[in-house]
């Protein structure tokens, strides 16, 4: 057993990392779902539309409502259940041979009949008729649609959509359907009602005018904002500085040397320094100088590094002092805003959009994989350090050789030296005959 505070720290750290991963996974899953749906067939009947928006955890007590089956489904289900009950009844009563023939037939019939009985819309909806019609001359239909059909609202398509959707989900009442139709006209480009995939007709898609306008306005606004940022008016800057000073003076306190956030940023910087220095030292120590020149340079480098390490330590002492001098922070939760994304607040934030250009799927995958790999390594190194700080003292302090010490040793070895992936074995050296 690990001591309580060590336990808490380690479990907290790991749990935090797990949560972060789970969050990322969830984000990915959501965006993946959208992507996958896009790559499936775009069906005018909207079979994709039944997917409900992501819901919170299914209620364990009563899972059925969570599925929110449509009336159609419920009806189907009812049929099935009834058929099943019948089948069971038959089984109980009738002889084996007769029953075995009957039960499946009952089931299958219920399945066969269900679409017929449940279809609230006639099998040949106007939309589908249209579909057939355009099937015969698809090229023409397409050519038509490539031209942005301004002011030529195709009423037929949306109406089909509306009907089918109402039949399936009938969710929130749609206000302003008329307005939507207007937009619709320019929205979906290939308006042939038959299903198609992005792969086949993706290149024919056009963004609607309203959106194009809003988007270009949006990007130009961001650009303006960025330029405004750099050329912040002089008097505003002066006024702000003045205000900050005033606040400070009226607070009746001398300015603390460093705020907690700054301390943290500094610690992070020093952490990085530490890693870099360590690497450089390793490199230097593994070198074998040949002549006096190299020998001299090596010595100088090491001395320089030593001085730098000294400086860093010095700086850390100062930070320590700053921390100690600060009043204790009223921190309501175990973890401080260390997790606060500092991104976007870089040295010179640019608000206007930037592009990242890739040339192939493979390249994008490599890029993403590497990015994640670096993030994982960061996290791994952090955990390694925490584990070192917590476990190594325990291992060296405890009474050696007891089984619990050996257990700890094995676990520590696995966690610290093998990344948690493998384990060592400790054998008792008993002579085996």
């Amino acid at each position: 057993m690990l001591p309580a505070d060590c336990s808490r720290r380690l479990v907290d750290e790991l749990q935090g990392a797990l949560d972060a991963c789970a969050q990322r996974q969830l984000q990915l899953e959501q965006s993946l779902r959208v992507c996958r749906r896009l790559l499936q067939a775009w069906e005018p009947t909207g079979t994709w539309a039944w997917e409900p928006p992501p819901e919170p955890e299914t209620n364990e007590e009563d899972p059925l409502p969570a599925c929110t089956p449509s009336p159609q489904d419920l009806k189907e289900l009812e049929f099935l259940t009834r058929a099943l009950e019948k089948a069971v009844g038959v089984r109980r009563g009738i002889t084996k041979a007769g029953e075995r023939n009957k039960a499946p037939s009952l089931k299958s019939r219920s399945i066969v009949t269900s679409p017929g009985t449940t279809a609230s819309t006639p099998p040949q909806s106007p939309g589908q008729v249209g579909g057939h019609a355009s099937d015969t001359r698809p090229t023409k239909g397409l050519r038509q649609t490539t031209v942005p059909a301004k002011g030529r609202p195709e009423r037929r398509l949306p109406s089909v959509r509306d009907r089918t959707r109402a039949g399936i989900g009938a969710r929130a009442p749609r206000s302003g359907a008329g307005l939507r139709n207007q937009h619709m006209a320019s929205l979906a480009a290939p308006q042939a009602p038959e299903a198609f995939t992005l792969k086949e007709k993706g290149h024919l898609l056009r963004l609607p005018a309203a959106f194009r306008k809003a988007a270009s306005q949006n990007s130009s606004l961001w650009v303006q904002l960025s330029s405004m940022q750099t050329s912040d008016s002089m008097d505003a800057t002066a006024a702000k500085t003045q205000f900050l000073q005033n606040v400070q003076t009226t607070s009746g306190r001398s300015q603390p040397r460093l705020s907690a956030a700054e301390v943290e940023a500094e610690v992070r910087r020093l952490q990085k320094a530490c890693s870099l220095l360590r690497l450089r030292v390793r490199e230097e120590l593994s070198a074998a100088p040949m002549d006096w020149m190299q020998e001299y340079r090596c010595l100088l480098t090491l001395e320089g590094l030593q001085a730098m390490v000294g400086q860093c330590l010095q700086r850390l002492q100062e930070l320590r002092a700053a921390v100690a001098e600060q009043p204790p922070l009223p921190c309501p939760v175990g973890r401080s805003p260390r997790a606060l994304p500092s991104c976007g607040g870089g040295a010179e934030p640019t608000w206007s959009p930037q592009l990242l250009v890739y040339s192939s799927t493979q390249e994008l995958q490599t890029l993403a994989a590497l990015k994640l790999r670096v993030a994982v390594l960061d996290q791994q190194i952090h955990l390694e350090k925490v584990l070192m700080a917590e476990l190594l003292p325990l291992v060296s302090a405890a009474q050696p050789e007891g089984p619990s010490w050996l257990t700890l040793c094995r676990a520590a070895h696995s966690l610290l030296c093998e990344g948690g992936a493998r384990v060592l074995t400790i054998l008792r050296d008993e002579p085996v005959d």
Binding site: E61, P63, Q72, L77, V88, K96, A421, T425
Partner: protein, 451 residues
């Protein structure tokens, strides 16, 4: 997400076929007992996992077949093609003329390296066909030479080349007696190597499955094909699509990942077992109805008694639990497990959850895990195969300690007399390698015992 199956050796190929066949016939079965929409989503999910795009309407299994002799592969390919429902890829198999002769060393050190490139190429091609690739499912026996030796070799290569992908090895544990004489040697070599390179070992014992065939399915003359079908049913019900945690309408996308994260995160505990209820012959099925209370109680009882089969399930309308009589001897003092997975068909009743409480008893788990973390439920509305209701339990528990201990003990006895060692040194597996294997498996036994 898709899973690429690698079937190795006679056993692996025979079982692989049955698994695909079971999955496909289930997903196309009219007995799914759920609504059409649900059924479609279910089929799509199942297909994404195990089959690639159709060729003239026939789905193609995401599988690579490997054997060192042609007979079984030819037979397997033919059987799949004959089914008409699905088939194997045209260029998805690799075979040679001459088997490994039950010699693990031959498979691992001769066949493996010699054919590494070809086999890995086949696998790579199969992986590239997946838009979304989750991991490998590697089916092999551990007693023979090809499945076990090449299987261990291939798994190791997969670990090297696809370190981020998941690897689950389905291992067929040989009969206690009478399959292969050097099976204990082959087994310890296989297990110790897989423990290094695989993420999870899903174990099926021939003896246990044999018993299921005899006692529950009432099969008089049990053939390997009977055994493989039971096995395929169990595997199929594990991989049957289930709902994800978010919402009932989304099927779980990464079954391997979810399974492993919950079951095998600790590097010393990688062995999984499956328990399944109900199993019965087609004939008695027609006369049986099940209640969730009954099934789950039964399953829990199996777990506690460490029974791998369901015994004492009477074939009459009301299951009658006479536990005391039908229990296997209690082998383990402190059974523990991490995950409960059940697939629930429709007609879910609220009291179901009351029954699941029985699995949340902390006494079932090791002291350092709390049931809330160790126990997970998966469910689906759709029935699997011919059963209206069924439940399957995947657990990481002490259940294999005893068989493993037996195998290690027998192999150790043989090793002490140096019997058969010359057959292995001939192909570069030295006594040192045996000792390494013994060491790591003794550790596994000890670790499981210390829970």
């Amino acid at each position: 997400m898709s899973i690429v199956t690698v079937q190795l050796g006679q056993c692996g190929n025979q079982i692989g076929f049955e698994v695909f066949d079971a999955l496909l016939s289930d997903s196309h079965s009219s007995q799914g007992l759920c609504c059409k929409r649900e059924n479609e989503a279910y089929q799509a999910s199942c297909k994404e996992r195990f089959f690639s795009e159709e060729e003239k309407g026939v789905p193609i299994a995401r599988a690579v077949l490997v054997d060192m002799e042609p007979k079984v592969i030819n037979q397997t390919l033919a059987k799949a093609a004959q089914s008409g429902r699905w088939k194997y890829g045209q260029h998805a198999c690799f075979c040679q003329k001459q088997g490994s002769g039950n010699n693990w060393a031959y498979g691992y050190s001769v066949h493996g390296p010699r054919h590494e490139e070809s086999i890995m190429n086949l696998i790579r091609k199969e992986v590239e066909k997946c838009d979304s690739f989750s991991g490998f499912f590697i089916i092999m026996s551990m007693a023979g030479g090809t499945g076990s030796g090449i299987g261990a070799f291939v798994t190791q290569n997969l670990q090297d080349q696809y370190s981020n992908s998941l690897k689950m090895n389905q291992i067929i544990w040989p009969y206690g007696t009478g399959e292969v004489i050097v099976q204990n040697y082959n087994s310890i070599l296989t297990l110790s190597h897989l423990y290094r390179s695989s993420d999870a070992l899903l174990v099926h014992e021939n003896d246990a499955v044999h018993k299921i065939c005899a006692k529950l399915m009432n099969i008089k003359q049990i053939s390997f094909s009977d055994i493989n079908q039971v096995l395929a049913h169990q595997l199929g019900s594990v991989f049957q699509p289930t709902y994800s945690a978010e919402s009932s309408f989304h099927y779980r996308r990464n079954p391997l990942g979810d399974l492993m994260e919950h079951l095998v995160p600790h590097p010393e505990f990688k062995m999984l077992s499956i328990r399944n209820v109900p199993h019965m012959s087609e004939n008695s099925l027609a006369y049986s109805t099940f209640t969730w209370a009954g099934l789950l109680k039964h399953l829990r009882q199996m777990l506690i008694s460490n029974a791998r089969m369901e015994e004492g399930m009477s074939h009459h309308t009301q299951p009658n639990f006479s536990w005391g009589l039908t229990m296997l001897p209690r082998l383990v003092l402190n059974p523990w497990f991490q995950e409960f997975k059940t697939s629930l068909a429709n007609m879910v009743k609220p009291h179901l959850y009351k029954n699941l409480e029985g699995f949340k008893d902390p006494a079932l788990y090791t002291s350092w895990l709390v049931p809330v973390n160790a126990f997970n439920v998966w469910k689906t509305q759709r029935a699997f195969s011919k059963y209206e209701k069924s439940a399957v339990l995947v657990s990481n528990s002490q259940f294999l300690v005893k068989p493993l201990d037996m195998i290690v003990g027998k192999a150790w006895n043989m090793f002490a007399s140096k019997a058969y060692i010359h057959q292995y040194t001939k192909f570069g597996i030295e006594e040192e390698d045996f000792l390494d294997s013994f060491t790591s498996l003794e550790q596994v036994v000890a670790s499981y015992c210390n829970l």
